[in-house]
Symmetry: none
Subunit: 295 residues, 2 copies
DNA sequence: GATGGTTCGAATCGTTCATAACAAAAAACC
DNA sequence: GGTTTTTTGTTATGAACGATTCGAACCATC
């Protein structure tokens, strides 16, 4: 039995950019978005119907009808899985409030595995580990914290990392400095900020590569992005940052792998320095750019 | 949410003979047979397309498209049900590097449920929701970010929240200000900083309640704490903040519940203000203390 | 065996569909 | 820098679609 989802995951690499957009749209609302017409899926992905068909063809399916047939088989199979039967018909064990909050976030994390494909993370990691002239990282009101954590951790692996607290304000010069060979990482979550769109436009205009980290219903700026990493955020009653946090960490580890020995060397350097600096007076606070120790 | 399957079961009686044939065909190969065209379903049922449409109309749906929409919602709901653990869905065994990083964090989260008890979180939440004169929140080099996220979110629920970037420096006055009825939240993770011990000692000397958030092998300052929330951090090859992030979110939700209507009112106030402030100029950046919108 | 009320499918209409062919645009290559 | 190759949206077309209409078939009751 062909598993469409797995197939898409595995072959994400060999897809063309527009085909990837379709793949992302499909995974973001899987499998529902694949059950409509080619036009609907194309619209959701921001491309055209023929592109959808080209994706289908690349998966080895001869027609859209065949694609949908496989999809439906997959649904039938998953829905009738014996495990599911037992659990879905038995009433969910009632839990405490805390237990429920916790379980909900664990579920989000499970879903993270299927909304963002490993190869996309790898692609982002390769971009970041290629020692670009500059890596600019920025985020929104809350996501800026995640952005900053990413910046600090990346800084330990590879040079030229910059966290921009105010990308359109006093930080704007960074974009004009290094033209090519710049990578911009942008966090843009629900309640998408117009600012993010401006930053994205600016980045692309200057020829930078753009990595966008967004939630499932995918930020409007995702079109412009070279890599889109979509995470589930839940939203009942609040959005959760847990999957985002995990994505950041997974990405960092992937970058470390991609950077190889260079990254390890830099990290060691880091540790030495940190010990030297820590003993005198513990942590005199610091500005935007990352510096010393851990915890 | 309308459950097509249940609806059909319940109303089987009031259907006409041909409609019943359609219903049977649908249930026999559910939900797959409903995802095709009216003609296909009609053929499977041995009737005609109009009969299918009449059945749909009798279920109270205005069109076949609407019928399929409900079907797909149902599929989405069932497929994303929080059961999907032991099941085939995701690339389980393919053990890529990314997959492994991810799985490891999910395991950490599973462990979180057993390292920190719900009642401890509730106790911390009650403390924080009791409207103390001051709530002082601080953290280490990395954990400060989590501390700040906690501060911002708590600030939306209950007043008098303060994030202290430098608790022993220029922020130290906060500890001397309000004597009793102060709650101090301290993040202290592996490579425990001596600073944290000093802050803890100071806090207790001034009679404040102390909540310590630490990792499993428990910070030396935990002795002094009124509530200790211990999270697993993993540490292979790096510590993960994901469980910490989750703990923060779960704690915030618990505080919201404990604060009751007051908390909700304050949150609403917040939203209103945020909309007022957001429209003029989008986020001119800000200092440490929490202010307006989201994302 | 006529009557009124359902039930049902053939025929039909306008729309949307999947798909192939094509051309513009972008990327990659030498 | 120019040329191939790839990518991608537009257009065209015939088939299939959902939905409606309408008359035939059926069933009960008198």
């Amino acid at each position: 039995m062909i598993r469409i989802k797995k197939e898409i995951f595995d072959r994400m690499e060999e897809l063309s950019p527009s085909e990837r957009k379709v793949a992302r749209a499909l995974l973001a609302d899987y499998p529902s978005s694949g059950l409509g017409s080619t036009g609907q899926l194309a619209r959701a992905a921001g491309t055209s119907a023929p592109t959808v068909l080209r994706l289908v063809a690349r998966l080895g399916l001869g027609s859209y009808a065949e694609f949908q047939k496989h999809l439906r088989d997959e649904i039938m199979h998953d829905l009738n899985a014996p495990v599911r039967r037992a659990e879905s018909e038995a009433p969910r064990e009632d839990r405490t409030d805390v237990g429920r909050s916790l379980a909900e976030r664990r579920d989000l994390l499970d879903r993270l595995g299927s909304t963002v494909s490993g190869s996309e993370i790898e692609r982002a990691a390769r971009l970041l580990a290629s020692e670009p002239k500059a890596v600019l990282i920025s985020g929104g009101y809350y996501s800026r914290f995640l952005a900053e954590i990413l910046a600090r951790q990346l800084d330990q692996i590879t040079p030229n990392i910059d966290f921009l607290p105010d990308p359109l304000g006093y930080n704007v010069g960074k974009f004009y400095g290094a033209k090519r060979n710049t990578v911009v990482v942008l966090f843009d979550l629900r309640r998408y900020q117009l600012e993010a769109a401006q930053v994205a436009a600016l980045a692309k205009r200057e020829g930078a590569s753009l990595i966008v980290i967004t939630d499932e219903e995918i930020s409007p700026i995702a079109d412009k992005a070279d890599v889109v990493l979509a995470v589930p955020v839940g939203g009942i009653p609040f959005d959760s940052f847990a999957p985002l946090m995990v994505l950041v960490e997974v990405l960092v580890e992937a970058v470390l792998r991609a950077a190889g020995q260079k990254g390890i060397d830099r990290m060691k350097l880091w540790e030495d320095r940190s010990y030297l600096e820590r003993t005198p007076h513990p942590q005199p606070d610091e500005a935007a750019s990352p510096s010393q120790e851990a915890s």
